[in-house]
């Protein structure tokens, strides 16, 4: 037969009920505290593991770097010396083009430089920036164009990337009097530098 659970009857065992609740609460508190401790420890463990892996990765990279730093440092110095790094120097570019034109004896040359645009965001926050140049020049022979482009690659204070070139014979009527040009070349060239990045 089930006991009659009235307040009057429960009062008979209130001591035991209080004891039971106290024991249960004590046990649950212990369990919750231990679970909380373990959860915090697991987080710390994951964090420590990630830090360890990161430290290992950096150390491995550093060891590789120790081997390869010499050539890379020289290459970086070369790029820096060439003016590939940092702000573009358009005035210098114009001067370089004029100088090559004069050295090559090219009669007519026109160019237009578009505003600088980012083209790539690479590792470690470096950002490649490009200024597109449309170049038109009259030539006696196609070798003049190849020489002009080679001189530009060698002398320009930016990395020059040839995108397109149209080479066509000048119609007889378009040749200016006394001029010797036979061909006209219209090229598109990217002038690429490394920006500061973010």
């Amino acid at each position: 037969m089930k006991p009659d659970l009235t307040f009057r009857n429960l009062a008979l065992i209130r001591g035991r009920l209080v004891l039971a609740v106290t024991l249960a609460l004590l046990g649950l508190s212990l369990m919750l505290v231990s679970l909380g401790l373990v959860q915090a420890a697991r987080q710390s463990h994951d964090q420590a593991l990630a830090q360890r892996q990161e430290a290992q990765r950096r150390l491995a990279e550093m060891r590789d770097e120790e081997q390869a730093i010499g050539p890379r440092l020289a290459r970086y110095g070369e790029l820096q010396k060439r003016g590939y790094l940092g702000q573009e120097d358009r005035l210098s570019w114009v001067e370089q083009i004029r100088r090559i034109q004069a050295q090559r004896g090219l009669s007519a040359l026109r160019f237009e430089l578009a505003p600088q645009q980012p083209i790539d965001r690479g590792d470690a926050g470096i950002e490649l920036l490009s200024s597109k140049m449309k170049l038109e020049l009259q030539l006696l022979h196609e070798e003049d164009l190849l020489g002009f482009l080679a001189d530009l690659r060698a002398a320009a204070s930016a990395y020059t990337r040839l995108r397109s070139c149209r080479l066509e014979r000048l119609p007889d009527g378009d040749r200016s009097e006394g001029a010797t040009a036979q061909l006209v070349a219209t090229c598109s060239i990217d002038w690429i530098t490394v920006g500061a990045g973010k």
Partner: protein
Amino acid sequence: MTPQRLLLLATDRLSAHRWRAGRIEVEAEFAGDAAGLEGFAQYLRQHRDSTFHLLAVQAEDSFQLEALPRTRGADRNAMLARKLGQHGHGAALSVALSLGREKAGRRYERFLLAAVVGGQQLEPWLLLLAAAKIRLAGLYTLPWLAGSIGTEAAGAAPLFQLLTLTGAGLHQIVFENGQPRLSRLTRLTTGSPQEAATAVAAESAKIYQYLLAQRIIDPGAALTTVVLLHLRQLADYRGRCADSDEIRYVFTDLCAAAKGQGLKTLPQDSCSEKLFLHLMIRKPPRAQYAPAALRRCYQMWRLGLVATGAGAAILIGSVLVAGAQTLEYLRLSEHIGALRVRTENDRQRFEAARRRLPPLPVDIVRLRATVDRYDRLARQATTLEPMLQRISRALDAVPGVSVERIDWRANDSAADSGPGSVVAELVARLPAELASDPRAQLDAIGRFGAALRLDRAVAVSSLALPMEIGSSHSLRGGSEPDGGTGLSPDAPQFSLRIVAMR
């Protein structure tokens, strides 16, 4: 362990016993007069921390089997209360024991209704028990306790009677299918073994006649009669109780039965109270007569025990879980410590390696990324020369062809470091003397294309020809100066697309 105390109510006296690990000691005896009742009340007050079990041996029980419709809850309680009232004629001490449902018919639930006859003799004692608010586990009578002993002695007999002596007299209890069916108490004058043996023989015969009259036993069938006795008195019983066609005696050693039940204080004569007192603790029966009000303290005490046990179980379980978690915490802490030491070692080695590096203009990571990116760009670089050289070789192979225009462009692949391609669209003219010879024109263009294809990395396709001879194009002709071929009289012009992988 809570103290266990046994109360034995026989005729007009009540004796109190202490039970401890199978031993029973008499603590006190109380007469039914005012002094005895007062002494009993005081005894109860002194032992409020005990659990009491009451055995009333002076009472007779009446039993009745009933099949009742299956009901639940309040309806069931009301129905059973009504049936018990009818059966016990309003007796306060009654009980209904469910025997399960019938296997056929309307499948009613079978009940054994039982009531204490003459329960008013117990009232003064029960009032004291109620007033003392002690823990009373139950109020029992012999029929409920003796079933297991009798069934064991009677063997397979479904119907048998058990006779045993107590201070109240000779008890005769009939069992059918393990349940008590009839209970009688015969008072003895002297209680001597000889009188008891004579009474056993006489009462057994009466019970048999009664069962026969009630058609409970078939005529001619023998009734197994179990007699609990001390072996010292066996001769007295054998001399007076001879087996007959109607009655087959099974004399059972009371001491052996008591030992079998774990009783350590063995009876000295054939009185079996101690055995049944012991059975109240060792094998408490399913049915007992104490009303709920009398057992309230006991029920609540048990509930308190269950609650405390549950609380303790939760505590123990939690401690075990917490222990396991603490071990896990210690293991993790140790591992974390080791990881931190190794991480610090790696950092120190990293810093040492960094110090060994030459002075750098920028952070080493940025330096590496910058150089690597430029190197990738350089690997992708394309120049005009290879395409012009191919065209020049083709012009050498087919003299007379003159180039009008070259459109060259670099196609970058989707992949950053992929090979990509360069495309050149070439517009050229054939020698004017071929203007009237379409076959010679196509032959010259074919040779020009073949010269370009000598480079395996080059694919050549025609964009425009002087004359389209394919079946998917229209072809015109006539007698005009061009010979009616539709060809221009000027030098014929053609156009090719040259694609070269870098």
